[in-house]
Symmetry: C2
């Protein structure tokens, strides 16, 4: 379904934010991304406008023919407003690149936002599959099926020596990036997180913030992904990442237990104050929102807050972002206006209204 | 009634904290204090132990014979614990001097703590009468009656030229100090308060903190009193102070209106956050408590908080002090333990339990 408005997405929230699935007290979501490029055309960055258009025509035809996509939405970046593109970015459905340079770019979104395919990103196709909780296997299963369907309709650049060819050599090989969004407040509070991240990077993994590359970890949210795409089969990459993530989860669990044992009142105080503030404030900015929501989520996850469910907290992580607030309100809002609307939205949501 | 424990005071709260009376949205309480000294004996500071005892014997006899006092309690400072003396200080019933040097000192407390008479303070007698709200006239009426009763039983040092003689010359003359405890959050927030205090001091008044001389204004609470005791009759002193206080009240009212008009959301946010924090926290120290209670009181006074009454907030100002927490708990508490008990007490009280 070709659409020119993202408004339909406002009616529900992303399936991968539902707060269920394995280890969902620590893992927000899992993601698999595949990079694919057409055989006969230059990579997007080096393509002329004409070649970009040509690629888009071919890709659109192929992508829209896939059954999984047919039931979803197809959106050309140039046909929607700035705020809509930012909205898609906030929902993790497109990249910053897609938002900033909309020409000859598009995205297919399907299966309650579990699946998105970006056309003419850095690579011709970026296939992304997300799941709630620690569930890379399910992401990989769906991504693989999607990849097979696309293979039947499009000819991808592939070398027997190198594997899939990509615009940036760091993706060459499998073209696969597996990543997991973790909530690590106890490791941050006990000042162990930088040590953990250092250890991760020695194992060929990398840690980033909520919105991927170049973003800082805010509100204790960390996205951990594989660095290696060359010379290791997909299953091994995923297995490796899973093993590392399981260790990080173990460390976070231990840190939570230690805090509860040695610093229970300090922890309770921090969580209860955050809960009190976020349910009361009339003005709150994005940064403070993330750190307050982080503490509230920890409270929910540790059973210290029982009248909020995890899904509500997860959804607020997205709904409180600038473009979301403006879409919900149906008009442009200044930063100061957003801070007021954000506080209002949070208050209402946490009271279940 | 001669008593050796202050525990009976725990059962109720001071009448002057009830949060009613004229201008009680801005004025916490009014107070009249009279300094009187025995004719034939040296001032307490210059007296030998023997003379101090002699003074105490005479004063006790006279004070305990007054009808108004008979129904109350009489407590010798040397017969109670350190924590009990601190408790009396926190309730504004005795001075720091009385707490620190208990020998040959005592206090009579009557009429639901509206009235207290300190024996062998800096002056032989310090008669204090307090009222809720802006009500100096009523304080003066009661103090005057008490003074007359005492005059019938004790011979006070009085000079036709100077009036009542006192240990410190700043009290000589009427021996009268009239003071009003004001809550001036809007003047503080709009940064007008230092200008107001400067103007006051030019008019012969002085501004201090919650616990009188030498204490800083915390939580936006200011105690304003007359400086002049010599050459001006009592009624004029009280009239002058009343006139000045009425002006300060007017300024505070204007500042509140201005905040509501120009900065409503910022004000609401500040008040709502303080309310959210104080009802949620598990650890809170005295200083933060005062500033949070100040904002909650402002919320109550401006109709922004409707589920708490003013008396509850006023009472918490006293109940959350260190000795009160220890008396309530019935045992000594470290500073860290008090911070936890304080938060707990506030949470329970504000939930009406």
């Amino acid at each position: 379904m070709n659409i020119t408005s993202v408004d339909y997405l406002l009616k529900h929230t992303c399936e991968w934010l539902k707060g269920t699935g394995p280890n969902s007290d620590i893992v927000i979501s899992s993601r698999i991304r595949l990079a694919r490029n057409l055989e006969k055309l230059p990579f997007s960055h080096w393509a002329s406008k004409k070649q970009e258009k040509e690629a888009m025509d071919i890709l659109e035809k192929g992508v829209l023919d896939v059954d999984l996509v047919k039931t979803g939405a197809y959106i050309r970046m140039s046909e929607i407003e700035d705020v809509d593109r930012q909205f898609l970015l906030e929902r993790h459905l497109i990249s910053r690149e897609h938002m900033v340079h909309p020409e000859y770019k598009s995205v297919a979104i399907a299966d309650k936002e579990i699946m998105s395919i970006m056309v003419n990103e850095e690579d011709h196709l970026r296939v992304q599959v997300m799941q709630s909780g620690f569930n890379l296997q399910e992401c990989w299963r769906i991504a693989n099926r999607l990849d097979e369907s696309l293979h039947k309709r499009l000819k991808f650049a592939f070398s027997a020596d190198w594997g899939y060819l990509t615009a940036c050599p760091t993706n060459t090989g499998t073209g696969l990036r597996a990543s997991v969004m973790l909530h690590l407040p106890a490791l941050v509070m006990t000042k162990q997180v930088s040590r953990v991240i250092q250890a991760i990077s020695k194992l060929g993994m990398t840690a980033r913030g909520l919105y991927g590359e170049g973003t800082e970890a805010e509100g204790n949210f960390f996205q951990i992904s594989n660095q290696i795409t060359l010379g290791t089969p997909e299953d091994d990459v995923i297995d490796n990442l899973e093993r590392v993530i399981r260790q990080v989860i173990g460390h976070e669990e231990n840190a939570r237990k230690t805090l509860m044992k040695q610093n229970r009142e300090v922890l309770q105080d921090k969580i209860a104050r955050s809960n009190g503030i976020i349910r009361s404030a009339y003005i709150v900015n994005t940064k403070e929102t993330l750190s307050l929501l982080s503490m509230v989520r920890l409270g929910v996850d540790m059973g210290l807050i029982t009248d909020i469910d995890r899904r509500a907290v997860n959804e607020l992580l997205i709904l409180t972002q600038p473009a979301h607030l403006q879409k919900i309100e149906g008009r442009q809002l200044s930063s100061a206006q957003r801070d007021v609307k954000r506080a209002n939205l949070i208050r209402r949501r946490l009271e279940g209204r």
